[in-house]
Symmetry: C2
Subunit: 233 residues, 2 copies
């Protein structure tokens, strides 16, 4: 960056959002779909441990779970689990809703000309339903999915790609996410992380992962936009 | 109690267990069943907020959720929600498993002649499946369900009734639970509360509710029984 720091820090920060658990209320359905997929492959794992890994890239997620069990890794089985997860999730995807305040928050940012984007560890195939529900599938805001980057969270690539698409410096962006993987990726990207409790994690876990601030959900962020450098609300 | 304190405190403490999220891995299924039940009655509530209320008595639970939404209370609707929850839960109850270490822990306590009981906010109708899975439905250990007491958690009645059935002083008992409602009830009963993370709550939430100690799950408790006054392991 060539502009002086004093100017840069006076620009409005960009908002880079995670999707599941941050804008749409889909985490618990994903958790139970993974539970069934793992069990179909002979892997018994408590549901809360699956919950704690949600938000990682699918491949890393399965590897992390199997490592916890001391299982050897088998790429074919990993692939099969991911396919089964997609199938089981599709069975209950109609139960998923936007989180309170999600569409309002995105509209407000757009109205105030605050740049924002969505960056999800999911593939477009599984994200499409949620994006449509939010009314942003064919909008102007950048949508970065797993298909577009080499490494998903907790690697920083998704958020870096989102900032690049916005042509906005990542050092002046918020990364908003419900999982510790979002917040770790935020740190690696040198953004600041905002945690939301709407994915079901405890505030302490989010703060321990480096959250600059923790809110309940998008509605709570919307009520506190002035804390996040957004003027005009 | 007439025995001197010095003797009483040298007796082995009794273990009073919650069921869902503490011995069986059923919390997330209950959460999604409640989500569907609430929505069927026109109540839209984010899943994580439902999760945070699980473990309360059904009636209090529904009241607390509706209060959060500012809805007026209607006893008929409350009853209907509880019935629907039971129906939706029954649809996915076959996905529920015992938590890691649960049956081992109960066996070990029995072998060491440590008194234990189960006290659940659920009715026998919904608890039966889990108790059967644990192999304790027709065993000698006391099982206290919602049907047997006037007030369920966070009131202390369930745990007080369990200690009474064991003929054991509540002041020398552990209350083991995954939700803050168990730990608040433990304090009101003047027992000490042990939190387990297997219901998906953060350790901080359990400690803030007064947990004397927090473990991952029953297997983790079994590995640390010596910390809890149990000798001979």
């Amino acid at each position: 960056m060539s502009e002086p720091i004093s100017e840069r820090t006076h620009n409005t920060p960009a908002f880079l959002f995670d999707l599941d658990g941050t804008l749409i209320d889909s985490v618990y359905q994903h958790v139970l779909a993974w539970k069934r997929a793992l069990e179909s492959c002979g892997v018994e794992l408590a549901v809360w441990k699956i919950h704690r890994r949600i938000g990682m890239s699918g491949g890393l997620f399965v590897n992390a779970l199997l490592r916890e069990l001391g299982h050897p890794l088998d790429p074919e089985q990993t692939q099969r689990m991911q396919t089964l997860h997609g199938d089981f999730f599709a069975e209950i995807a109609d139960q998923v809703r936007p989180l309170p305040g999600a569409t309002d928050l995105l509209h407000t940012l757009t109205e105030l000309e605050v740049p924002w984007a969505i960056a999800t560890s999911g593939h477009m195939r599984s994200a499409r339903h949620g994006l449509k529900m939010l009314g942003v599938l064919d909008g102007p805001a950048p949508i970065i999915t797993r298909d577009l980057v080499r490494y998903a969270k907790p690697d920083p690539d998704l958020f870096l790609a989102a900032a690049e698409k916005l042509d906005h410096p990542i050092q002046n962006a918020w990364v908003i996410g419900d999982s510790i993987w979002d917040l770790l990726a935020a740190q690696r990207a040198r953004a600041l992380g905002i945690g939301v409790r709407s994915g079901g994690y405890g505030g302490d876990e989010l703060r321990e992962a480096g959250a600059f601030r923790v809110y309940d959900d998008p509605a709570d962020i919307l009520r506190h936009l002035d804390e996040l450098g957004v003027r005009g609300t």
